[in-house]
Symmetry: D2
Subunit: 393 residues, 4 copies
Amino acid sequence: MSASAFGSISFDIGYSWKDMNKISMVRKTHAEKPFVKCSMKSTNHNSQKTVNIGVLGASGYTGSEVLRLLANHPQFGVTVLTADRKAGQPIASVFPHLSTQNLPDLVSIKDANFSDVDAVFCCLPHGTTQEIIKGLPKNLKIVDLSADFRLRDISEYEEWYGQPHSAPDLQKEVVYGLTEISREEIKNARLVANPGCYPTSIQLPLVPLIKAKLIETRNIIIDSKSAVSGAGRSAKESLLFTEVTEGIYSYGVTRHRHVPEIEQGLSDAARTKITISFTPHLIPMTRGMQSTIYVEMGPGVGIEDLYQHLKLSYEDEEFVVLLEKGIVPRTHSVKGTNYCLINVLPDRIPGRAIIISVIDNLVKGASGQALQNLNAMMGFSENLGLQYQPLFP
Amino acid sequence: MSASAFGSISFDIGYSWKDMNKISMVRKTHAEKPFVKCSMKSTNHNSQKTVNIGVLGASGYTGSEVLRLLANHPQFGVTVLTADRKAGQPIASVFPHLSTQNLPDLVSIKDANFSDVDAVFCCLPHGTTQEIIKGLPKNLKIVDLSADFRLRDISEYEEWYGQPHSAPDLQKEVVYGLTEISREEIKNARLVANPGCYPTSIQLPLVPLIKAKLIETRNIIIDSKSAVSGAGRSAKESLLFTEVTEGIYSYGVTRHRHVPEIEQGLSDAARTKITISFTPHLIPMTRGMQSTIYVEMGPGVGIEDLYQHLKLSYEDEEFVVLLEKGIVPRTHSVKGTNYCLINVLPDRIPGRAIIISVIDNLVKGASGQALQNLNAMMGFSENLGLQYQPLFP
Amino acid sequence: MSASAFGSISFDIGYSWKDMNKISMVRKTHAEKPFVKCSMKSTNHNSQKTVNIGVLGASGYTGSEVLRLLANHPQFGVTVLTADRKAGQPIASVFPHLSTQNLPDLVSIKDANFSDVDAVFCCLPHGTTQEIIKGLPKNLKIVDLSADFRLRDISEYEEWYGQPHSAPDLQKEVVYGLTEISREEIKNARLVANPGCYPTSIQLPLVPLIKAKLIETRNIIIDSKSAVSGAGRSAKESLLFTEVTEGIYSYGVTRHRHVPEIEQGLSDAARTKITISFTPHLIPMTRGMQSTIYVEMGPGVGIEDLYQHLKLSYEDEEFVVLLEKGIVPRTHSVKGTNYCLINVLPDRIPGRAIIISVIDNLVKGASGQALQNLNAMMGFSENLGLQYQPLFP
Amino acid sequence: MSASAFGSISFDIGYSWKDMNKISMVRKTHAEKPFVKCSMKSTNHNSQKTVNIGVLGASGYTGSEVLRLLANHPQFGVTVLTADRKAGQPIASVFPHLSTQNLPDLVSIKDANFSDVDAVFCCLPHGTTQEIIKGLPKNLKIVDLSADFRLRDISEYEEWYGQPHSAPDLQKEVVYGLTEISREEIKNARLVANPGCYPTSIQLPLVPLIKAKLIETRNIIIDSKSAVSGAGRSAKESLLFTEVTEGIYSYGVTRHRHVPEIEQGLSDAARTKITISFTPHLIPMTRGMQSTIYVEMGPGVGIEDLYQHLKLSYEDEEFVVLLEKGIVPRTHSVKGTNYCLINVLPDRIPGRAIIISVIDNLVKGASGQALQNLNAMMGFSENLGLQYQPLFP
């Protein structure tokens, strides 16, 4: 086979070297105030893209992760980036690693022009998002990555977040975006509340098992381990390298704000109120989350029943993967990807089982699932922009 | 206060600058083949020390940790170091960080001269230790850090370690060295089996509670997180930096070899057979171990009862510390020290409690507790050589 | 804009949800002995791919990195994977993180069927590769990631590698694959010697400056810092997590095997023999490499001259990026990508400059540049399979 | 040898178990508002200590490191701890790892009672220290760990720190505390400016070589690598775990504030103005610093001359250690200790040498050297409280 044989093929995701020059010329013409980059080819370009995306709150980790994923999305092009305190700056001044992409400068939300925008990822902090989404044009499709719309019961929001819900009407139309569980509602939704990272890692394995009444709803004990990026990018002493590295500790024991979200999802599945034991731990790593879940099986139920039911539940799914029997999921296998790996393991204590699930907290636990949801909401294949394999080592 | 006021004080752990020169001269005269160090003052010296110590298996982490601790022990001086595959080498060729101490060269066990040795720390691998200890002089006090003598029931040893016990007679005289629990037997012991790291972190909080029948003996669920040094220094692919960093995974689920040791200790306390759920996790850090333990309290028992009983149990102990109510123990607070920090926390599920304990796996979980035991066996204050405060950050 | 508007678009890199089912069916039919994965959709598929690739030595990090990159290559499909000691195993038993791809099982090289293979990446250890490549079919295009063919002078190979070169005839046809410097020769090559990681990070900034006589050829001082993955996956004590984390040290001072490769490249550029000072350091991180290079500028030359010349040299390149003035390259900005970021900084000492370059040692420093080279050799756009943006944080 | 033989020995650093009980009783009586600890024995006690120490700025890392070292100091007892923003809190609320010590609560500086205090460690931020030290009682011995008094030339202070020096009179009496170089002046000093971490690691090897005119004073190129704790404990985005781990970068190229301090020391040694090239790098580790120094040797000078001169210079020093020829210093070997390890290595380029030095930035680079200085100022053996061996792994 000779190289020349490929000369006239038009590639899916490639462009010929010659085209690159042209694209670059155009880019260089328009980019009058480069901040960080120089003498570089753009590697994404919006010319062929058909959907205009805004990212609100682009200076945090979930925002930048959306941008990483969209760099290889064939249809979604980024046209608006907001970050109120960094307005006017190029994104590369906030995230140097984004300097190799050709992205718009940051603007404040109030100055953002949404007239050409089709959909937004809302990556803003909890507590501020309800007001902001209320003010957005009604034609926008929205995936909200904050916790502000995840709790159906607004009194529960008030109890756990210490402030009244300021958009109760919007709350009514919200679809909770655990993609594999609520796919059909998501497809028709305008506003999706993207699940939290812990709730995603816990509900994906437990919801099918609870629905099928294979496990008891009492004494569900969840010991979760999270990477540090889950805490975001705000400058806190407790998140300094020196405070985190080479140590582990539990935080928010019994009081973590993801508790009501998890209990809401599990209770829905059980059609009865479930109270869980949930202990999150902070681990000295950047990305990744493991939930080790200890459950009692129903009378007459065995490990094999749990395994087969999960297999059946997820065999048509691309991103939720039940491993071969006996293989323990590990966070390394999902780093940078949208996968959730699951397995069921026997316990020494008869009648009990151990379920382990792992995700990348920033992808399936945040920006990846958000993109999966928006793909579904826009009628695309869910995996667009999500076809990354794990970065290992 | 003038400096001269101190001129004639004789210091506890210091020696005057002038004395150091003399010591150094002597050292330099005898040390004809220095390997790594040069032009350096010795910082420990055996002249005043009254007990001669041998360390068998000095090329592993528990061996080198014994040496770190003994460097500041006022009575124990190291006179024999063995490492069969490194025999003839200075210890600094195996552990460069020990080059600043003045230690004997490595010899093979068969060439070691035990005639002047009073006590040994046996830091050899599991499986080989029974034979070696059988061959040691009977007058030696021995603390064995391997698992070879921890299980009273030799059939259980065979089951979990896959080989018959080769020193069943010795096994009968062994004392299991969980210091705070078996102090009196340890004082009179000749051969102490030093507990494993997981068993130490788990038994210290649970044994008193089980003895007092404050918690149920069923459904004890233990989710432990260990640093990598617990796996030792052998060159395995799974322990490479690249394979460990930035990830977490569970290993030996239900099958970890520490299970029978833990169940032996808890069953003794309960005077009935206990089966536990035990899931260890490997964390990307060097030292430290946390056990998060989920228990059911007995009828009518509350968190406060557990707390008060642990307080009572350990209030006279230096190294087992119950923290103030609500304070979560963290591994950073024990790094490099012999402390075990414990607390009891309420669970969301009524009737349940969460117990968290942390240790440095190489100190209280291995070499530190071993030294504490030998101090007790030799009639010394238990804390000699163990008065380190945590290295943080 | 409604979702239905996209209904009939055929996507570049996506496939519809329905197609995925079919592909998965096929895959499941053929995969009779799954090892790790289960109930999972394949995410790559070779049906549309036109070039069959073999990866020799797929059980090391450069091999698995080739597989990560090829997962999103539109033309290259993997049909042969070899790993002699792991022959017969699925790749997922060696690299669990690859279980989400649909890849062939491992075979030994002697059992590999190259009849349908168009090109191979040779990811074998130094010293064994010359013999193996001699035995491969002559029609194969080969990119060799080992050091076995990098030194033009076979006597120099013998001197630094301690064994005679066993394929001197092949050596003559080898093209050294520093893509941006030798692009035209690479396009016509059959056998490319892929550069080492250090040499890549050093030659990319220095070769243009030396060619233009902007810097002195004497006293070039290179202080490089490498991640641990550069040492490969072999189980060595010195690479254990416990031995690497929380420390730094220099290794191979003056004797590192990359020295002759670097000096060969720089001497070629200068058309005179150059001797460098080169000190590599091992850093506790997985991926990434920084070379901090201290040079004397030629008479009358200033920082601005160096900057402008590098700008001119690389302004049409996608993967070599000169940053804006004053911006310091950092390894975080290239993690998982094929970029080399460069900048020139002033020194306090008049007449001197500091040049900093960063790469991901496994991508631009190994598998990424290898793929870039094979793309060029096969007549494709160089960036196919390489359009990853950095994974940060 | 029987255990009873030790019954009546009075130990240097131990206390009998029985005494511990009494001490603990006393402590518990007085400690009315414990914050974190409970049911714990105190492990240090001031009863035998003869010097009262204040630590100003105890809520930072250098402050807490002073406290770690003093825990085993036989003469220095801590009686005052200040931290203005944390005044009124127990130290354990700021540093949980200090809860196992029996330390006074934090007070603000203005409320601190210095009447019984003999000496203070001043661990306050740069820029505020001059004013505070001006206000302290004149009888106090002071070691200042900030940079405020390190530069003899107050105009240079103003240039690099951007504000005028506010205590020029005090500056005149200051002794620069590089212990091994200025020991005699330090012994007689009242106010010592403790050197910075970079300057310590660089001056210790270079000052003797420059004084002896063995190396050229031009083109001294210093490539330093620092752990993150050197940046202190303030909550900055750039120091977050997620921003630091798994990456390396150079900062403050040519502009780092330690430059004038280094140049001051080297110029003093040379008796002529020296301008250096200095590039610091931030490494993802907590403690440790390596300086790799590239120098030109004088005419006719060889590596052996440098080696022998350093050997002669430091052979009577406990804390500055020249390693055996060919052994490369590594930061692991100094972690938690006051050592500075040095070696001289040949360069490939004739006439040049590579000097490597390593320290723990928080010990010899800060609090350890500060204690060494105060020991000297008070007439004690310099090594009191500093006899720690490295914590490895």
